[in-house]
């Protein structure tokens, strides 16, 4: 029935790149409107159209692959390259925030008291909740590996159990970190210490939420029998992203929580 003599996927025309670009415009201009004109309408519209775009675009990718069989080995290889490049770009994104942290903390200015942490800042004890957070993410890295191997060995129930444990650990981390944010004696407005702390850990937390969402999608797809023991790239991509999130936390923990206290 196919008329192509090659293994690549010639994607059918789709409206989602356009709606995605429009949603990005609405979100950015919406953010400006919120800050300067105290109206959240554009921003809310942008967030809605962005969510709808992501849902429908990725739903289409699942349709093209699982249901229509377009993801041949060369196509999958391209997707692997893509995910690796994306995660690499995220590494550089976080590198900027670590650069900012070290720039300010290695040479604390006189205005801060000439030392780090600055005068008036009581940093969080790295051996309390931050250490628990570290153990939670490390444990989730182990459980997701268990899920992957179970998937490759065709053990459906164990894969579901292991992936569920991974997602619950991710949720636990998010709840713990949210609690820390509310209990912290310092805020984002507390000088460069507050800025570097909350921007770096805040973006990390956002990535934990994104990673947990990705894993939850994989969980639903596994329940619907989408994955085979040999072909499950969506899960692998989610696992790579999850390990990346874990590694970023380890850097955060060592740099900001531990060395920075």
């Amino acid at each position: 029935m196919t008329h192509q003599s090659h293994a690549y996927h010639m994607v059918k025309p789709s409206p989602w790149p356009l709606t995605g670009a429009l949603s990005a415009l609405l979100m950015t201009s919406g953010l400006a409107m919120w800050f300067h004109s105290h109206s959240m309408t554009l921003l809310m519209l942008g967030l809605l159209t962005n969510t709808l775009t992501m849902y429908q675009w990725w739903r289409d990718v699942t349709r093209e692959s699982t249901y229509q069989g377009h993801h041949t080995p060369p196509v999958q290889k391209g997707l692997r390259y893509g995910m690796i490049l994306f995660i690499t770009s995220e590494v550089f994104f976080f590198a900027g925030f670590f650069w900012a942290f070290y720039h300010s903390s290695l040479a604390p200015t006189p205005q801060l008291g000439g030392h780090w942490p600055p005068t008036g800042i009581t940093p969080l004890n790295p051996l309390e909740v931050p250490l628990l957070n570290t153990s939670v993410l490390l444990a989730s890295g182990v459980s997701i590996t268990w899920a992957h191997h179970s998937l490759m060995e065709n053990n459906r129930n164990q894969m579901i159990q292991a992936l569920l444990i991974t997602i619950l650990l991710g949720l636990y981390f998010t709840l713990l970190q949210a609690s820390e944010y509310f209990e912290s004696p310092f805020t984002i407005s507390d000088g460069i210490y507050g800025s570097t702390f909350f921007v770096a850990t805040g973006f990390h937390g956002l990535h934990v939420i994104i990673g947990s969402t990705f894993l939850t999608i994989c969980f639903i797809r596994q329940l619907m029998f989408h994955f085979t023991s040999k072909h499950h790239f969506g899960f692998e991509a989610a696992a790579w992203y999850w390990h990346f999130v874990d590694v970023v936390w380890l850097f955060l923990y060592v740099s900001i929580y531990w060395w920075g206290s």
């Binding site: 309390e128 628990l132 268990w146 164990q158 912290s184």
Partner: protein, 109 residues
């Protein structure tokens, strides 16, 4: 180190190699029985590690409950260059009146 990096990336890319001994198709890359090892690690190392950390937090949690640093209006803290776009513009997003003073001092004093 770079060579190891390149070969592990090519493994991630699923580059096919000539079949040697163990016949497995190019998409699969697990060994028989390794799921059991990771399951064991999960239940005997990873999750107990989390439990121990939880216990550690619980045991330390009552220390310092009544201490709150005295408020000193340092100019390098509680910065308000422009109002926050929510509420009265003077409270951070995760404001906790008990531990977060405003630029003018604790709210509940």
């Amino acid at each position: 180190m770079a060579v190891v990096g390149v070969s592990s990336v090519s493994r991630l890319l699923g580059r096919s190699r000539p079949q040697l001994g163990r016949p497995m198709s190019s998409g699969a890359h697990g060994e028989e029985g390794s799921a059991r090892m990771w399951k064991t690690l999960t239940f005997f190392v990873a999750l107990p590690g989390v439990a121990v950390s939880m216990l550690n937090v619980y045991l330390k949690s009552h220390h310092g409950e009544h201490e709150r640093p005295e408020f000193i209006a340092y100019p390098h803290l509680r910065i308000r260059t422009k109002p926050f776009p929510w509420g009265d513009g003077n409270h951070t997003l995760f404001h906790n009146p008990h531990v977060n003073p405003l630029p003018t001092g604790y709210e509940d004093e």
